[in-house]
Amino acid sequence: MTPLTLQEFTALVSSFQDEAGAAIDGADSAESLEATRTKYLGRAHGWLKDISAKLAQLDKGDRAAAGRLFNDARLAVEAAMESRQGALAPARAGITLADPTMPARRAWKGAVHPVTAVIDEMIEIFRELGFTVALGPEAESSWYNFGSLNFPADHPAMDLHDTLYISDDLLLRTHTSPVQTRTLQGYAPPIRVLIPGNVHRRDPFDASHAPTFAQVEGLVVDEGITFADLKATLTHFANRFFGSTKTRFRPSYFPFTEPSAEMDVLCGVCKGSGCSVCKQSGWIEILGSGLVHPAVLDSAGVDSEKYTGWAFGMGPGRTALARHGIPDIRILYDSDVRFLQQFAR
């Protein structure tokens, strides 16, 4: 082993540091920088390795000083390497945008129908209160649509439901309430369901009527249900759906509920002082509701002495018209893509 003086070693290290530094500065791409790294710092064949091997040739007394010298040089070269790497990196990313304000490349955006959006929002709110979703057929027997729901036979109450018939006993349901009977027949209380679905009436298709429209029904049946549950739950719903608002309950009539009540919320436009939107009343009619009529429970085979319940029905189409300011209900049915696209998010 040829002895090496500290002076010679120092010269070696300094020439390494100079050469490596020049090579690093001269590297103009990631590739040439990587080649430089291999040449000077490579573990297998690099200069660094060669120099470190020479440490053994030094006098024992000089080795500690030489080691420090060697380490400092290594760190300096590594730091230079790192900084050059950083300097070359943006060039690697490679693209420059002539005009970053040009539009993004977008995909088509989809949208749920505004009426579906209202239904989904209702379901979401009622889910928080433990409701599940029940469905039923659109073609019904007149018993399910009327008889089981305590409609008096051949009575003016039927005039409120101008009906489309398929045969003597088969009709298109005029409301989602037949699903109340089906649910009560199918399950034991407690029952807490929301029933969305399409219903059909023999109404002319004009700016404010459609022969087919969506309805959302709610039904709760259990022991100890009172009018307080109806008011509290529907008020909670109104607050969640419309933002904090005031509700008002007023007498109404549905054959299948008693007492029956319409629920209004404070007019969002005038906040109750009266305007053209609320026809000067200060209130907007939202839904019909009531305690489930004992005759409905009886006809579905539920003990009306043991169980009580409440129900409501709402038209999400009207709500959609109001919340989006749509002037004509037929727009909801036309399916013009320019209309539907407005609801894409």
């Binding site: 029940a134 087919t212 709760v220 509290a232 009539y253 007492p259 909801l332 049915y333 539907l340």
Partner: protein, 809 residues
């Protein structure tokens, strides 16, 4: 139902403003939907006082100085003979529009300035009096609005009376409610107070005769009670002002004193009254019977109506003279020349009036009330009032009154448990309050502290069981004075309907793919033989689309065409809805999802000014996406379609739908349209779980499918190579792929077809298909040799099995 604030006051002298009345009725009785002040056309008129007046020579005119409260005197020319200095008159300032439409302006008359107008009653629309201007007897200061001085102002409330409350179809009916709610006793209106009672009635069970007239009832089921009153010596003419005002206050038109008197009873007391010209009733006889086959009647509206046995008629000795409870006949109508009137006040069966009304298609104020139910006990009393009223306004004399029929049977009492009231309304209403509230609206309440026996008054037809009484208690107390505490609830027993869960997933998938949801009408027209396989609505809205759709594709096609007619060629819509399939005498409902795409696959961008149009492969992808969303984890396959479809979609071997090219009535610029229709399931009428059972067990997991099993991520490198085969057109890519998978063995990770070439570099009838195959060993790196071996094995297998070889070069 229109209610006049002033008229109601005559029945119950309450002190409520119209606004207070509106709020009270809405909260406790029935919803007041409209609210309009009457005579608003007079709101600009003020009280004016004539301060100076001088005749204009050689005319009927006077030149006056009028104080209108403005501080300066106005010069006014007036043509009336009764101008008196110091007197007050209705005054129209210039700028005021008269009820007749004339605009009052400052102008010169005979050289005199006229700056306003003093008004006669006729000019104000207050009657026919035009003999002079209307002198006001008032202490009010000049300039006071005229409506504050004259008792003309009224408010009309439009109330939505629902079918269960026919007792509210009159002012008297609302008066009862207001009386109870304000604790004000009801009153007899002043205009009825002066009417002398008619002579005692002649009463019969089925028939009765008094003086010249005889009444006979064929069936008291159709007509339980009939009162006929003869008023002789009437002079048909204009009504007195007060009667005219009443009729007009509810939006009616004054006709003559006889008709107005009957309308007063209709709107005031809720009882339909019909007036016959007695001279035109053959044999002075009233027969209440069903119409005979072949009979007809020309009704008051001039229409000749053919009748049958379902219609109840009033007949004289020979023929029908009125449709009972619906409309009178033209021949027996009261006219200017009528002198003797027969007034009919009767109770008819709701059912028979409803049947008759439907047959002839006439909905009248009378039929509306009869169908809902009138107060049959009150019939004779109201007959007396009606006759007295008619006599007093027409100068006639009440002669005879005949009452035929049965005294209505007393109402069966309803028993009411006080505890049940609390159970339904929350425990806030006690027995004493319950009793007081019911009694306040005329219910009879007897019995002990736990159970009441309640009898409804004769005008209420909606009280059959305890809950009907509880509703009365609730509304009279006020819904807003019932508790509304939100309390915890037991979880329900009903699982989500699987069709809801599935359709929600599909909707989310399709909107994420950029599609737009539609909710169209389900009606379609039929083309050709289609009619046999479609469900028809028996009474459709229009004969152009009388069928319910069997396929969503039809609806989607019409909606796409609608867009094309509006120059919208980029259509990407879907619907989740019901298809109606005839089955036996009924039908089956399927919940389906349908989608239709055409035009640009994505929005135009500066890097791609004309984006590619949707093609069949996009449609195939949508078909897969829908199916995978609907049946997560199931084996989905799209095989070559039949009957014109591009693909038939199967899930675990069951056909669920199709992908097709849609045939549209499209302009030439339109791109081809592609459709997908997948049946998600039947809409069963039956429950989705056994009664009383939860159905959550088989749907653990949010998506409703099996949970995905985790596979550990690879830690070894993969080996890839490509294979291009010359594949005859007779062999499907899926077939080759399946053979590759079989031959590739366990270590074959993926097989992807990445290129297709057709052209002169391959033999005709074939194409070159290239696959990329990825192999991986779970524990170690695959050796070169192993990969080579697999490659050779694959080539051998495909040659043997399908006879296809690697493409040369």
């Amino acid at each position: 139902m229109n209610i006049s604030h002033e008229w109601l006051k005559a029945f119950v002298p309450h002190a409520l403003s119209a606004e207070q009345l509106r709020d009270l009725l809405t909260a406790h009785v029935a919803t007041v939907e409209g609210f309009e002040r009457t005579r608003t056309e007079l709101s600009a008129f003020v009280v004016g006082q004539v301060v100076e007046s001088e005749k204009i020579p050689e005319t009927r005119l006077s030149f006056n100085k009028v104080d209108d409260g403005s501080g300066s005197l106005l010069e006014v020319v007036c043509g009336a003979p009764n101008v008196t200095v110091g007197a007050k008159y209705p005054f129209a300032r210039s700028g005021t529009t008269m009820p007749g439409g004339l605009l009052i302006e400052k102008r010169k008359i005979r050289g005199f300035t006229s700056n306003g107008m003093l008004c006669s009653p006729r000019e104000l629309g207050l009657g026919d009096d035009h003999d002079g201007i209307l002198e006001l007897t008032t202490d009010a200061a000049t300039g006071t609005p005229l409506l504050d001085v004259l008792p003309l102002s009224d408010t009309r409330l439009v109330v939505d009376v629902l079918p269960n409350r026919p007792d509210l179809l009159s002012h008297q009916g609302f008066a009862r409610e207001v009386s109870a709610l304000t604790n004000t006793p009801v009153a007899v209106p002043a205009e009825l107070g002066a009417i002398p009672l008619p002579p005692t009635a002649v009463i019969g069970a089925r028939e009765a005769k008094a003086g010249a007239i005889a009444v006979r009832l064929a069936d008291t089921a159709d007509c339980p009670r009939y009162c006929a009153v003869v008023v002789r010596g009437v002079k048909v003419g204009p009504s007195p002002d007060w009667l005219r005002a009443r009729v007009e206050s509810v939006g009616g038109r004054s006709i003559n004193n006889v008709v107005d008197a009957t309308n007063y009873v209709l709107h005031g007391l809720g009882q339909p009254v019909h007036a016959f010209d007695l001279a035109k009733l053959g044999g002075s006889t009233i027969n209440v019977r069903r119409a005979r086959p072949g009979e007809s009647l020309v009704t008051l509206d001039g229409v000749d109506r053919t009748l049958d046995g379902s219609v109840l008629v009033i007949a004289d000795a020979d023929r029908p003279v009125a449709l009972a409870g619906i409309m009178g006949g033209k021949a027996s109508e009261v006219t200017e020349s009528t002198t003797d009137v027969l007034l009919e006040v009767a109770a008819f069966s709701a059912k028979v009036v409803r049947g008759g009304r439907r047959l002839v298609g006439l909905n009248t104020d009378a039929s509306y009330r009869y169908e809902r139910g009138i107060d049959d006990v009150a019939v004779p009393r109201i007959a007396a009032v009606a006759a007295g009223l008619l006599a007093s306004v027409s100068g006639g004399t009440v002669e005879h009154m005949v009452v035929v029929g049965d005294m209505p049977a007393p109402r069966p009492p309803v028993s009411l448990r006080v505890a049940r009231v609390g159970r339904l309304l929350g425990d806030v209403v006690n027995g004493a309050e319950t009793r007081a509230l019911l009694e306040s609206i005329g219910f009879g309440v007897t019995g002990g502290s736990e159970t009441f026996t309640v009898t409804a008054p004769s005008w209420r037809h909606d009280i059959a069981r305890d809950v009907d009484l509880i509703e009365e208690v609730a509304r009279l107390r006020g819904y807003d004075r019932l508790p509304d505490t939100l309390t915890g609830a037991r979880p329900g027993n009903v699982p989500d309907h699987p069709m809801h869960t599935v359709s929600s997933r599909v909707r989310a998938a399709l909107t994420a793919l950029g599609l737009l949801e539609i909710r169209p009408l389900p009606y379609v027209a039929a083309s050709g033989s289609d009619a046999n396989v479609l469900v028809r609505v028996r009474n459709p809205l229009g004969e152009d689309e009388p069928f319910l759709r069997r396929r969503l594709a039809d609806t989607l096609a019409r909606r796409a065409e609608y867009n094309l007619t509006r120059m919208q060629g980029d259509v990407r819509i879907f619907e989740i809805g019901t298809a109606f399939i005839p089955e036996g005498s009924g039908l089956r409902e399927e919940m389906r999802v349908g989608a239709l795409v055409m035009g640009a696959r994505r929005p135009a961008h500066f890097t791609e000014p004309v984006p590619p149009a949707y093609d069949a492969w996009d449609a195939k992808a949508l078909g897969e996406a829908i199916t995978i969303a609907a049946w997560p984890g199931a084996r989905v396959s799209l095989a070559a379609g039949t009957a014109g479809d591009l693909w038939t979609v199967t899930v675990d071997g069951t056909v669920v739908g199709r992908v097709y090219q849609a045939a549209l009535d499209a302009p030439i610029w339109a791109s081809p349209a592609f459709g997908i229709e997948i049946t998600l399931g039947d809409m069963p009428a039956t429950p989705v779980a056994a009664r009383g059972a939860h159905n959550y067990a088989d749907r653990a997991g949010a998506a409703g499918g099996a949970h995905v099993r985790y596979r550990s991520l690879p830690s070894t490198p993969a080996a890839e190579f490509d294979l291009a085969f010359v594949v005859p057109d007779s062999i499907g890519a899926a077939q080759v792929e399946s053979a590759l998978r079989t031959a590739g063995g366990d270590l074959l990770e993926s097989v992807v077809v990445f290129d297709e070439y057709r052209g002169d570099k391959v033999p005709p009838g074939t194409r070159s298909l290239a696959w990329r195959l990825t192999f991986r060993h779970p524990e170690r790196t695959l050796r070169e040799k192993e990969i080579e071996g697999r490659r050779a094995q694959l080539l051998k297998s495909l040659k043997e099995e399908l006879g296809i070889v690697v493409r040369a070069g």
